[in-house]
């Protein structure tokens, strides 16, 4: 798996910095929970002021709801940007940095290159989520609060799947873009988040949650219902698989630029 390990090395710094920042921010937001309990009560009384961002009044009233909401706030959009960068760079960077010619004149099939790079992207998403989950658990222990572990685990799982979906869309973009790939990737992450905010504004726009990966990674929903929204998740998984398959097909046939 030389390409996989090479990718891990190449992404090392970005993964370490982003994972530490995400996990650290989550830890801080959990550690201040005891100081915020009284203020959270008054926030809850403000009703659904923050509903567009996926936060409900109820989520401020118990630790599980607060924890799940913080996961969405901290590693939701932050993790999506990270996944977009890692995903879009995986294939496009070889052409942008003119190393594709070096790599693809070795006896490694393009399918193998795509597979190993995809696994490295998945590994990066795993590291970010596991580091955040580990530090989240440690922070809960420090403040002596106990959350519903099943709901929190599902929230992390939903975020991992969401990161993989964003990364897959960007991985596909990177399979045919070299210049402007990073902008396209970041645009995808931000665009998906904007769609999610719009989806939360009215009932009429709620269907957009089927399109945006943030739809099924709503910590507040998962904490309240004890599960991920099946419909949103099914569409998200279908988009993920379609993007990965398309990336394989496109990269097999594409002409490698000089």
């Amino acid at each position: 798996m030389p390409v996989f390990f090479r990718e891990l090395k190449r992404n090392k710094l970005l993964v370490i910095i982003w994972s530490a920042a995400s996990a650290g921010m989550l830890a801080v937001s959990l550690l201040i929970y005891p100081l915020m309990v009284s203020q959270l009560q008054s926030l809850a009384e403000m009703g659904d002021t923050f509903s567009a961002m996926g936060l409900s009044a109820q989520s401020f009233l118990d630790y599980t709801g607060y924890y799940a909401s913080e996961i969405s706030s901290v590693i939701g959009i932050g993790g999506a940007i990270f996944a977009a960068l890692i995903g879009v760079n995986a294939l496009s960077r070889e052409e942008k940095e003119h190393t594709a010619e070096f790599l693809l004149t070795h006896p490694v099939s393009r399918a193998r290159v795509v597979l190993e790079k995809l696994l490295a992207v998945l590994a990066a998403c795993v590291v970010l989520n596991v580091a955040s989950a580990a530090l989240g658990a440690a922070s809960s222990a420090v403040i002596g609060e106990k959350a519903d572990s099943g709901a929190i685990a599902l929230t992390f799982l939903a975020h991992f799947i969401m990161h993989v979906e964003v990364a897959s869309i960007c991985f596909l973009l990177g399979s045919f873009l070299s210049r402007g790939a990073i902008a396209a990737g970041l645009g995808t992450a931000f665009g998906a988040y904007v769609l999610y905010i719009v989806a939360n504004v009215t009932e009429k726009t709620r269907f957009l949650k089927y399109v945006t990966p943030f739809g099924y990674a709503e910590g507040n929903y998962i904490a309240a219902n004890g599960g991920i929204h099946g419909g949103y998740l099914a569409v998200g998984l279908a988009i993920t698989v379609a993007c990965i398959v398309a990336a394989f097909v496109i990269y097999q046939k594409k002409d490698i630029k000089n």
Binding site: P2, E97, T99, E101, F102, T105, H106, P107, V108, K253
Partner: protein
């Protein structure tokens, strides 16, 4: 068996020219020169042979294997040196050579060490800190360390100092003597003339001629230089006419008797008739008169 065989190989890049109906055969064991100026289609041909780009039409085989369907099997037996090698920034030379060997699933440490010693390449340096010449040496070791059957070299000596060029060709000659095929794309004609047995000239994406370097050098043409000629000879088959003081020189590819008769008619003080060198043949094909 042919190491390389292309039949009507064509690559279109939309408006930009690629190559058109290129049919070429390079025998296994040959030291073959592929000549043409920048933009003639040399690199496009090489990129097609290596499967980096797909042909628009035609077909090609490398070492008896189809370039589209058997790309991996071909690459396992090919050593490729690009004209401008780009490597992963931050990697040390030793790491890069090891990565290349791992991608080939071969242990090339012994051969890599020998090559680095001969080319005086410091493997502890980071590749992005190397000079152009040293980066070229890294490319050479990557192309040679797995001892392939076919070497595809695109402008291999650009950036190398004369001593290193000599060392590099010495290595290639050794590999050639062991039976390997060398496909050398270049616009440095003296190195093609010196080392290659056969050569092809490509112009604007089309193959102009393919023959032994010796035959290409003569090609039925002679370089005729006259001194003190009473007037300019008028002959069919005259090309590349140039004046220099009281002497004039031209390439002549017509009947020898007609040449002698015309020289006798115009009158002259001195005449020399020589074989043109490869550069002159190349220039002949690249001048409008040569078309």
């Amino acid at each position: 068996m042919d190491a390389i065989r292309t039949e009507g190989l064509t690559k279109n890049y939309g408006r930009a020219r690629g190559i058109t109906e290129l049919s070429l055969a390079v025998e296994e064991g040959d030291f073959f020169g592929f000549i043409g100026p920048n933009g003639a289609g040399k690199s496009t041909t090489i990129r097609l042979l290596l499967g980096l780009i797909s042909p628009t039409a035609g077909r090609a085989e490398v070492l008896g294997k189809d370039i589209v369907r058997e790309r991996n099997a071909i690459l396992a037996e090919v050593g490729y040196l690009p004209s401008e090698a780009a490597f992963y920034g931050g990697m040390r030379v030793s790491e890069l050579l090891e990565y290349s060997a791992k991608l080939r699933r071969k242990d090339c440490r012994g051969e890599a060490a020998r090559l680095c010693e001969r080319l005086q390449l410091d493997v502890t340096r980071k590749v992005n800190e190397l000079s152009l010449g040293n980066r070229k040496k890294v490319g050479i070791v990557c192309a040679l360390q797995h001892r392939p059957r076919l070497y595809i070299l695109d402008e291999p000596t650009s950036g190398l100092d004369p001593l290193m060029q000599e060392a590099f060709f010495e290595l290639l000659c050794e590999r050639s003597a062991e039976g390997a095929t060398v496909f050398l794309s270049s616009h440095v004609l003296p190195e093609v003339a010196r080392y290659c047995r056969r050569a092809a000239i490509i112009k604007e994406g089309r193959l102009l001629v393919c023959d032994s370097v010796e035959k290409l050098g003569s090609e039925g043409y002679k370089r005729v230089t006259l001194r003190g000629a009473g007037e300019t000879p008028r002959l069919e088959g005259m090309r590349d006419l140039r004046y220099d003081g009281d002497s004039l020189t031209f390439l002549y590819g017509g009947d020898a008797a007609a040449l002698i008769a015309e020289l006798a008619r115009v009158g002259l003080r001195d005449v020399t008739i020589t074989e043109p060198d490869l550069s002159e043949v190349f220039m002949h094909y690249y001048t409008k008169e040569g078309e």
